[in-house]
């Protein structure tokens, strides 16, 4: 084996080794690296009760109620489960029914999620207003697909529901 071949081997072993180490590490810590949990995770009982966490999902159509001051109540849903949320604070401009949101907070004793901060999670689809209007339903615009459960594998029916959203 020439010195050049030996150097080639060293480089290949290094790159493959680092990639394997990263793959093993990230697989082991996958659940800890999720930015948010979903309503399914929260309702499954796998999470410690009352823990502060980030919850992500779509704001259910027709569920938004405004209370006194800035207080709002709405239902957050992933593809299979729903959780009622209460929040008192400033909302991002993109917050609306049907929109993806991520709420920081904890599950209250009355099974309502008490949020202390809400961020909007918009998707990767861009289109002019006329095109968006021509889409039949507001639900069709935002997919529940990005809100994948951390603990449960997605059921087949969910993958079937992930359909094209932009024109």
């Amino acid at each position: 084996m020439s010195r050049r071949q030996r150097r080639m081997l060293t480089v290949a072993v290094l790159v493959i080794g680092v990639a394997a180490a990263a793959a093993l590490g990230f697989t082991a810590f996958r659940k800890n690296m999720m930015y948010f949990y979903t309503p399914s995770d929260l309702l499954s009982g796998d999470l410690p009760a009352g823990a502060t966490l980030q919850l992500g999902g779509l704001v259910e159509q027709g569920s938004l109620q405004r209370g006194a001051g800035l207080e709002i109540r709405f239902v957050m849903a992933d593809c299979t489960h729903q959780v009622p949320v209460v929040y008192d604070g400033v909302l991002p401009d993109l917050f609306r029914e049907g929109q993806g949101v991520i709420a920081t907070g904890h599950m209250g004793p009355d099974h309502v999620f008490v949020a202390t901060r809400i961020l909007a999670k918009h998707d990767e689809n861009y289109m002019p207003p006329q095109v968006a209007k021509s889409l039949k339903t507001a639900d069709g615009r935002h997919s529940c697909a990005p809100f994948k459960s951390v603990y449960q594998p997605a059921p087949d029916s969910v993958t079937a529901r992930i359909e094209r959203t932009s024109p």
Partner: protein, 252 residues
């Protein structure tokens, strides 16, 4: 073909090649960027939900694509530098790092400016944002490592090793939005799914493709110039540099 490649890989051969090519790259990149910026700012319609805020995509996406592309290029040059001990490849690694760091910083900055009005936060520690920040630190590490060596060739080889170790982060950044739940949205154009059916309407897409091409060509031009500088700094006493100098002095 092989003789041509061999001549290109020699410092004087590459210097002349870059000298001829760089002005053309600038000449094409600048009109593309101007046209893309005009299209993105004035011709493309506002987004249905983000309004005009989405227009930062015309800088953010090319900068982010380059941040990954330059790192991949740097690692490839690093492998060539380590295996074949090619001086030109060493120069290519060292010359690429500050450019990569700049485009990564630009991607992070434009991303923060985009995040505030749309998400509601400048920064969150989700997988995409964190891995892109790690990418910036990798570039800064390469720059710092190079400067820590008094001997240029030893420095470039150390940088090549770091570039190769860090290349594992490139797929992590790209697939972070697929592998993990994140606040950042998925890929609009650079994914298999998006290639089958675009996630962006065509009147918004064409300026993005123009600025993408413009950014890449602009990078290529600046990179060639930086490699030329590195070659001159290292080969200052070589005969081809002296001849070059005499030649250019003679034409004045």
């Amino acid at each position: 073909m092989w003789t041509w490649l061999h001549r290109l890989a020699s410092p004087p051969g590459f210097y002349r090649f870059a000298q001829a090519l760089a002005p053309w790259l600038y000449g094409v990149a600048v009109p593309l960027l101007a046209l893309g910026a005009y299209g993105g700012l004035f011709v493309a319609p506002p987004d249905y939900q983000q309004g005009d805020a989405f227009r930062i995509i015309y800088v953010h996406v090319p900068a982010a694509a380059l941040s990954l592309g330059i790192y991949t290029l740097m690692a490839a040059a690093g492998a060539i530098a380590l295996i074949w001990r090619l001086k030109l490849a060493e120069c290519a690694v060292v010359a690429a790092a500050p450019l990569g760091a700049s485009f990564t910083a630009l991607a992070l900055a434009t991303g923060m400016l985009w995040g505030k009005p749309t998400w509601g936060a400048y920064w969150v520690w989700d997988a995409r944002l964190t891995s892109e920040l790690v990418l910036l630190f990798l570039y800064l590490g390469v720059i710092g490592l190079n400067q820590a060596y008094a001997e240029a060739r030893a420095g470039a080889r150390a940088c090549s090793w770091l570039a190769l170790v860090g290349v594992v982060n490139v797929p992590i950044v790209h697939y972070s939005v697929v592998w993990w739940n994140s606040l950042h949205q998925g890929s609009t154009i650079l994914s298999l799914d998006a290639l089958r059916h675009p996630h962006i309407s065509s009147d918004m897409l064409w300026p993005l493709l123009l600025t993408l091409a413009g950014f890449f060509l602009f990078f290529a031009a600046v990179w060639l110039r930086r490699v030329q500088n590195e070659l001159l700094a290292r080969e200052g006493n070589a005969r081809w540099v002296t001849e070059l100098h005499e030649h250019s002095a003679g034409t004045h």
